[in-house]
């Protein structure tokens, strides 16, 4: 019982911190007219705050792990938006599917390849 109520005490402030950093991101985006979404700015700010010990890891860790593990679930409502575009997609299905899937494969390969080439070079030249 005691441990459960302790967990609960920690959960709300953790959610609060994540929301505060999202909000900070939105405020910065608004003030500087940035094209980068507020949540990304919030993520960068939270990373920096953790790095400079302004926020401690345990103040956000459990809820963050929970959200990341379940992120896929939050995509269902926007994904249902498929139904609005079924006709448009059906009329252009080849262009849309071919372009999207091929391009995704290219991003995977190019990113992975460049990231790995760098990797082998560094391990060879570790002491240079």
């Amino acid at each position: 019982m005691n441990t459960i109520s302790n967990k609960m005490k920690q959960t709300l402030p953790q959610i609060g911190w994540l929301l505060v950093f999202w909000l900070l991101g939105e405020i910065i985006r608004y003030l500087f007219h940035l094209a980068i979404p507020g949540s990304i700015i919030g993520m960068i700010l939270l990373t920096l705050s953790l790095e400079f010990k302004i926020i401690k890891l345990h103040q956000v860790k459990d809820v963050s792990d929970f959200l990341i593990r379940n992120m896929a679930f939050f995509f269902i409502p926007p994904g249902v938006g498929l139904m609005v575009n079924l006709e448009l997609i059906a009329d252009n299905w080849l262009a849309i599917t071919a372009a999207t899937l091929l391009s995704t494969v290219l991003v995977l390969l190019v990113t992975g390849w460049v990231a790995q080439i760098g990797r082998s070079k560094t391990s060879e030249n570790e002491n240079v």
Binding site: S39, G81, I96
Partner: protein, 233 residues
Amino acid sequence: MTDLIHSEVFLVSFTFVSYILAQKLYQKVNLIFLNPVLIAILAVILFLRFTGIEYHDYADKSKVISFWLNPSVVALAVPLYLQMKRIKKDWVRILLATLSGSVIGIVSVVIIAQILGASHEIFYSLAPKSVTTPIALSISETIGGLPALTTAVVVVVGVFGAVLGESILKLARIKHPNAVGLAMGMASHALGTAKIATKGDEYGSYSAMGLAINGILTSLLIPKLLLVLEGWF
């Protein structure tokens, strides 16, 4: 009865139950194309069609779910922070890999769609396809795409990457956990990250980084790249 079916609690519960059942099915059958998100999306679409509920009505009432997309993006700070030492040592490689991945993602989708006869409206909607929904939506709106089409394409890209990304990388002999993580986050945003993060922090942190960096790069690069690409066609 109609009131009940249209209610927030009914639609949110339906979404919840669809996803949990889809997860159970996936664990039992273990066929990769039975991705739980995809199955749940299809189940909800069928239900809405069957009951005649408009998508806008559903989207409005399920905001309590989609709202958490943004806090989850903020939460990716945790795996990033945990790998900070490695990232600091690695930043040149990360920058080169993400920059080339981001450019190839935008340019290739626009060129292929153009060649296959898609309209401007469509390839504007496809251009931000690799980045996570809240980011892709705001980009699509800014450049004159169809936000609803962008959302749909982003989810398809995410599911595709989550389902086949690892196998594609393995075929290409890309195996280093950091490279695999980075590629998954770059190509299939939060859905790819959610999948690959289960393999450990050295995957998850780089995937989170790929997702974040691609979000930033794509929003900065798209306006310029589209100008160049339009000059070609």
